[in-house]
């Protein structure tokens, strides 16, 4: 039996639960990528509708209308206007939210007018009783010429009905909601006569939007005298919007009734507390504190387990496999390298668990609103909070998220300062250094000192971002006005499935994104550490054995001396020694220097690099964890621990402020369309990090 595969696009305003619907329909059968040529996220999932029909579901970026004002919105329009696009939908599902149905229907009517078979999914139907809302579905279906699925993606209600409607999409009417001619009859009649084969509303979008349509060239329209001044087009667009709302109002007058006497809600009460001008900030910082305490204390047990397991595996491989280069590569390079990635999964998962819960519950939007007043003083917009908070995950999507800031100056400042926010790649570096130099003690009897240090580092990064924004605001001389609009979603219980998928996606991105780089670098580092030029490396055993001070030492100590001498004369040792004069004032030896250089590819490489270097440089048969090896590292000249308090703080500050990320530079270049800004970013952050670490080390040593 042949199976039908329908192409379905999920379209809707932001905050309508579109992604929840996507997750419910597709589960984990998702692929995340980018649209060609741009970095807007493209999510495709697969769903079985019934025995004979499957669907490929495309989750499009949230948009309020088909009048594009951002790159995300352009993606939606370009797809819906290009029937040759391989992703062009056979069915569009417009996801709306029951409480904001009127506003959400504007987009629905526009999509209907493109004559694409469209289903209206009214989400969050479980809140109807709570809000005293009743719907006349048959009336709405008749007036809107569509099929309606009343759903609750959070409670998994009505999704089967939606699947059924999609499977039977051939029954959908493609009759438009609005007669486009009514906007300006004379103008549209002329347009229809000039392009009889084209859809009238599509022509109108070509004229008003800055998007490409191939055959239907803008200049062709202009040649036929249909071009109008921008101000006139704007007026016509306003007229169109008014006409659409008149239509929607007429439909909803009968089909959508709100009995406010039946409505009950705690939203107002919660908003009063959480967005209070004093308590709001205390609550926010209290929540942050709780998150960082939990990230540290909860992830300790799984991290220790992973660390010990990899140490055991490395030691077992060394004895179980026949001696040779491959055995050395696996036990000293690959296993410690992979261990350096896997060990941080618990912390990253916990951090994203909390961030997802805050986003899902609707609290994050309140934080954006709360912070807007503060942000404005520093030349940022309230919308800058989103990139700055997203920056705790990764600066790359965070910088991309700055696209929704309309004002160029505010957007540029946001792009430039976002890499100061502590991203998840810094977390492994911070975690290992904190556990080495900050005692595992309690302050005031209940605050874990290590967790507190981590929180201070996050605040330091955030504070530095704000301070740099203030400086940039004074230095950059662009003049522009901006407005702040943010939507406050309802408070809701976080949906386990959404939180879980988000945590899995983010953790997967860390493991498979950075993990591949770390693994490859571990292999290269192993090679550079176990090979070297010249006689010193080749004859290390003979040279060390013949040294007078080594004549009477124990065999095991002698083996370590040989390994250490060999490492110093290996390729990596030579490179490290070369940069040592620059980094010595910061308290770093040449081994740390190597880790600092390699971690320019990705910050988290720092730990993996040290794990590999210390593994190559040791002949000990004991099963040593990464932390143990770092803890045991001693300066051969002074006899002091390498990772002491001064060096630890110096490194923590260096990694808090230094750019150390090629990918972030690449995305800044892409978003600013110039090498000037990423170079300024790199120069400023590196110099600032160097100077701060230098001062800290010199004061603390």
């Amino acid at each position: 039996m042949s199976h039908k595969n329908l192409k379905v696009a999920l379209i809707g305003n932001p905050n309508t639960g579109k992604t929840s619907v996507f997750n419910q329909l597709t589960g984990l059968k998702q692929q995340v990528g980018n649209y060609p040529g741009i970095t807007v996220e493209k999510k495709i999932g697969y769903c079985k509708l019934n025995e004979n029909t499957k669907a490929t579901i495309l989750d499009l970026p949230g948009t309020y209308s088909l009048n594009a004002s951002s790159i995300d919105e352009n993606v939606v329009i370009e797809l819906l206007l290009n029937r040759n696009d391989p992703n062009f939908p056979e069915v569009a599902v417009v996801v709306t939210e029951v409480e904001n149905l009127k506003r959400n229907l504007l987009l629905f009517t526009q999509i209907k007018d493109l004559e694409i078979p469209t289903i209206l999914a009214i989400n969050m139907s479980d809140r109807m009783d709570f809000k005293g809302i009743s719907l006349d579905i048959p009336h709405l279906e008749k007036e809107l010429n569509t099929k309606i699925a009343l759903i609750s993606s959070r409670k998994n209600i009505g999704l089967d009905n939606l699947k059924e409607l999609i499977a039977n999409s051939q029954e959908l009417s493609t009759k438009p909601c609005l007669n486009a001619s009514s906007i300006d009859p004379a103008y549209f009649d002329g347009l229809r006569n000039a392009f009889p084969k084209e859809l009238l509303y599509k022509l109108w979008l070509v004229i008003t939007q800055d998007v490409n349509f191939g055959n239907l060239q803008r200049n062709e329209i202009e040649e036929k005298s249909f071009a109008k001044p921008a101000s006139e087009l704007k007026k016509m667009q306003q007229k169109e919007t008014i006409k659409r709302y008149q239509f929607i109002n007429d439909v909803l007058k009968v089909g959508y009734i709100v009995d406010s006497s039946k409505a009950k809600g705690i939203r107002a009460v919660l908003d009063k507390i959480l967005m209070h001008k004093v308590f709001g900030y205390f609550i926010f910082f209290g929540i942050l504190m709780l998150i960082f305490q939990s990230v540290f204390s909860w992830s300790g047990i799984p991290m220790d387990f992973i660390d010990e397991s990899f140490a055991k595996l490395s030691s077992w491989t060394k004895t179980a496999m026949p001696p040779g280069l491959l055995t050395e590569l696996i036990s000293e390079g690959i296993i410690p390298g992979i261990g350096g990635v896997v060990i941080f999964i618990p912390q990253i998962a916990f951090l994203f668990l909390f961030i997802s819960i805050l986003e899902e519950s609707g609290y994050m939007s309140r934080v954006v609103f709360l912070m807007d007043k503060i942000m404005r003083r520093f030349g940022l917009s309230g919308k800058s909070v989103v990139p700055l908070i997203s920056g705790t995950a990764c600066a790359i999507p965070a910088i991309m998220a700055a696209r929704n800031i309309e004002n160029w100056k505010e957007r540029l400042i946001t792009i430039l300062v976002t890499p100061f926010t502590t991203c998840s790649a810094r977390l492994p570096v911070f975690a290992i250094l904190i556990s080495l130099v900050i005692p595992d003690e309690k302050v005031l009897g209940f605050i874990n000192l290590q967790g507190l240090t981590l929180m201070i580092l996050y605040l330091l990064g955030f504070g530095m971002a704000i301070f740099s924004a203030y400086l940039l605001n004074k230095i950059l001389k662009f003049k522009s006005k901006s407005y702040f609009v943010v939507e406050m979603p309802n408070y809701r219980m976080p949906l386990f499935k959404n939180v879980a998928i988000n945590v899995i996606e983010k953790t997967k991105a860390f493991v498979f994104g950075a993990g591949k780089i770390i693994l490859a670098l571990s292999i290269i580092l192993w090679f550079l550490g176990s090979h070297g030029p010249g006689a010193n490396f080749e004859n290390a055993e003979q040279i060390v054995t013949e040294m007078p001070q080594n004549k009477e030492i124990h065999d095991e100590v002698l083996q370590d001396e040989i390994a250490s001498f060999q490492l110093e004369n290996s390729y990596i040792g030579i490179i490290g020694k070369g940069i040592e004069p620059v980094i010595r004032p910061l308290g770093y030896d040449w081994k740390i220097g190597i880790a600092v250089v390699t971690s320019f590819a990705a910050r988290e490489v720092f730990v993996g690099t040290l794990a590999t270097i210390y593994n190559v440089g040791s002949h000990s048969e004991e099963e040593l964890t990464i932390k143990n090896r770092m803890e045991a590292e001693v300066n051969p000249v002074t006899g002091e621990k390498v990772f002491n308090f001064a060096t630890g703080i110096s490194l923590l500050l260096f990694y808090s402020f230094a750019m150390q990320c090629i990918s972030t530079l690449a995305i800044t270049k892409k978003e600013t369309n110039s090498w000037k800004w990423p170079m300024i970013q790199l120069g400023f952050m590196t110099v600032f990090a160097y100077v701060t670490s230098l001062i800290a080390y010199q004061l603390l040593k």
């Binding site: 060609p36 040759n84 696009d85 391989p86 191939g214 040779g324 591949k516 670098l521 090629i662």
Partner: protein, 42 residues
Amino acid sequence: MDIQSIIAYFLVIAAAVFLVKKFFWKKKKKADGCGGDDCGCH
């Protein structure tokens, strides 16, 4: 050279190639979403 060394060096070369490709290789933009001459990507 024994088989262990051959595999080890092969892995080292593969890792180096991967890193060079990742950070220094300029990928040509491929218009994956291109649906024909009138798709607007050209």
